[in-house]
């Protein structure tokens, strides 16, 4: 029996390295226990050390890519599921192309879940200006992802916000970007971030870009599920927008057409003089 400790930071590399050694030594899936975030320290005392690296282990590229994503899923069984599929891949050629295999389908679904979570993190993190002065501006955000997606998503923010310092704090892991360097730290409780006036302007934009004549609440919530709302400054306006939509549209309909403003006639006459063809 092997117990493999997996750290919360650098999980992907640790899993991959361990899986390589275990497969190389022919250790079957039931003989491996994956311990994420050090939940079972008492087991280490008795656990055998990992087998030494052996001959080169081959796995299809498509599996490696999938595993790189699935390791960040919150399902405690993810490591075991991945290892079980890797085990099967030793003898089942073409398994990765079989889109109907239940084990693979399950992993693909988890992969999709992580991808979606990464995508939502890119979308829904909201920075606040820390107004600290200095050469580089600094910003911070609090975010609560569904899966363990901070680490794989951080490079995106580094590519995008490279000329400023920023931090994204989450319950699991906190990522910092200072002077161009990315670093990961243990998670933390929600920090107190200073108020940011831009949030009010953003709220103004959110309320006014909304078209009350096209109310489709379900289309909104399927893409922006309620679980994210508490960390989205604009979400506070949603109930009011929904409640007032009918009335706003009714008002537009009930208002009788008005007479054009005085200047309209002047402008239009000038326009026609300028460009006699405009009407053609």
């Amino acid at each position: 029996m092997y117990t493999v400790p997996l750290p919360m930071i650098g999980t992907d590399m640790a899993w991959r390295e361990a899986a390589k050694r275990l497969i190389g030594a022919g250790v079957s899936p039931p003989d491996v226990l994956w311990d994420y975030g050090n939940n079972m320290p008492e087991l280490f005392a008795t656990a055998a050390p990992l087998p030494a690296p052996t001959r080169r282990v081959k796995a299809p590229q498509s599996f490696v890519q999938m595993a790189e994503t699935v390791v960040w899923h919150k399902d405690p069984q993810r490591f075991a599921r991945l290892y079980a599929l890797l085990w099967r891949l030793r003898h089942e050629q073409g398994l990765m192309q079989d889109r109907a295999d239940p084990d693979l389908a399950r992993l693909r679904q988890m992969e999709k879940g992580v991808q979606r979570c990464k995508h939502k993190m890119k979308a829904f993190v909201r920075f606040r200006d820390l107004r600290q002065g200095g050469d580089r501006r600094s910003f911070a955000a609090w975010f609560e992802p569904t899966h363990h997606t901070v680490e794989p998503t951080a490079p995106f923010f580094a590519r995008r916000f490279a000329d400023m310092d920023w931090m994204i704090a989450t319950p699991d892991v906190t990522v910092q970007f200072v002077d161009g360097n990315l670093s990961f730290h243990p998670g933390q409780p929600k920090p107190d971030l200073p108020e940011d006036a831009a949030e009010t302007l953003w709220g103004t934009y959110f309320c006014n870009i909304f078209n009350p004549a096209r109310l489709k609440v379900q289309a909104m919530t399927s893409e922006m599920p309620k679980k994210y709302w508490k960390n989205l400054p604009e979400a506070q306006y949603i109930p009011g927008l929904i409640a007032g939509a009918e009335e706003k549209v009714q008002q537009m309909r009930d208002t009788a057409p008005t007479l054009p403003p005085e200047r309209a006639k002047r402008i239009q006459e000038r326009l026609r003089k300028q460009d006699p063809d405009a009407k053609n």
Binding site: A123, A198, M224, P257
Partner: protein, 408 residues
């Protein structure tokens, strides 16, 4: 008037433009630490409004003053809505500050026409230039160009912007004449042609093998208003096909005509035809990615409109039941794409899996097929639809039960 009031007026005026896309442009990032922003292929929707629409860009008008009088438009000269105008600096600062907080992917700037088309366009170009050259902004910029603006201005716009657009507004020239009297459909088409040509020139290499400067790498798009005039879906889709073909448009957007404040008596307000808009997008998809042509899609109904109760692919399949059922283990890719309930992804999965083994009905479930729709049209290992394909009440299985009409 303070910035917040201006923002309220000028985003309110911009919401009738359907596009908020920020995808498909050149890849950029700011890893060198000398600029701000990135674009990476697929766009990001940073929020969704309760109308279900994606908010990806800061979509605003530079000003809602306008000297034209387009009947469908909230900004037309004859309307009494409150007017406002951003300064160049205000637009630049709003874009940058929103971007730094991760609210947006970039800017979608359009404008009412003030003074003259050239004056308006050059102000818009100034904003894009400031963003790129002074702020080193590497996020997404979409400029809605003014059809009559000078070619040099469009040239510049294309150097700074990822996407350019010009709205054809109404599906027929007569529609434009009736409801946008100052606009000229021929000028609009000429402007789209110019953008296409410039893009082609920019992508050619010189004799030294050097590429020209990138010109609007995310291409051009347009929008048609649906339901303001009497055009049928067939007319609209024919127009789209021409636009895609003639001007290499990336996207045609369909925008259900939607109530505006201070509407004109010329164009009474209707309930926005959202279902129709949705079917048009589906049909548009079939034209571009599923190998259908307009005739096939619009043949199902004599009035030239799409069936609102069922999707256009299903409507086509119900009309052409003789071709079905198709065997998922042997059918060609083209044929699989025509099966209701199969998307391009599902078809790809079927093709890759069936190289190794025969597919059963249950397999298809795991491949993302919607079997509720597909089952009547396919055979697989352990499945044949029997008489289902030709049963008289098949359509009724899909169409929603008749609803009470709602009052408007």
């Amino acid at each position: 008037m303070d910035l917040s009031q201006k923002l309220a007026i000028l985003s309110d005026a911009a919401r009738y433009d359907a596009s908020c896309a920020s995808s498909g442009t050149a890849r950029r990032d700011s890893r060198d630490g000398k600029g701000l922003g990135s674009t990476e292929g697929s766009g990001i929707c940073h929020a969704y409004a309760p109308d279900g629409r994606c908010i990806s860009l800061l979509k605003i008008l530079m000003t809602n003053f306008c000297i034209y009088d387009c009947a469908y438009c909230v900004n037309r000269v004859s309307s009494n809505v409150q007017r406002a105008r951003f300064t160049v600096d205000e637009v630049v600062q709003l874009t940058i500050e929103f971007y730094r907080r991760n609210y947006i992917e970039g800017l979608f700037l359009s404008s009412g026409i003030i003074r003259s088309p050239d004056a308006t366009m050059s102000d818009m170009v100034r904003i894009a230039q400031r963003l790129r050259e002074v702020e080193s902004f590497r996020g997404y910029i979409h400029l809605k160009t003014i059809p009559d603006a000078a070619p040099e201005l469009i040239d510049q716009a294309g150097l700074y912007a990822d996407r350019l657009s010009i709205n054809v507004e109404l599906p027929t020239d007569n529609g434009v004449k009736a409801y946008a009297p100052e606009k000229n459909p021929a000028t609009i088409r000429k402007a789209m042609e110019d953008v296409k040509v410039r893009k082609e020139i920019a992508s050619e290499r010189s004799y030294k093998g050097k590429r020209g400067k990138r010109f609007a790498p995310a291409g051009q798009s347009t929008q048609m208003i649906v339901g303001a005039d009497i055009s049928t879906d067939a007319t609209i889709l024919q127009r789209s096909t021409r636009l895609y073909g003639d001007y290499k448009l990336r996207r045609v957007y369909y925008s259900a005509f939607s109530p505006i404040p201070d509407a004109t008596a010329k164009l009474p307000l209707i309930k926005p035809p959202l279902a129709r808009e949705h079917r048009l997008y589906q049909a548009d998809w079939l034209l571009r990615f599923y190998g259908f042509d307009v005739g096939e899609i619009t043949a199902a109904r004599p009035d030239g409109n799409l069936d609102l109760d069922i999707d256009p692919k299903l409507a086509w399949a119900l009309q052409n039941r003789g071709i079905f059922p198709v065997n998922v283990n042997t059918a060609s890719k083209d044929m699989l794409l025509r099966v209701p309930g199969f998307g391009t992804r599902t078809v790809g999965r079927i093709l890759s899996t069936r190289r190794h083994r025969h597919l059963r009905y249950e397999d298809l479930l795991r491949m993302g097929a919607s079997l509720k729709k597909a089952r009547a049209f396919i055979t697989a290992l352990g499945w044949t639809p029997g008489a289902l394909t030709d049963s008289a009440n098949l359509r009724a299985c899909f169409a929603p039960p008749p609803k009470q009409l709602s009052l408007f």
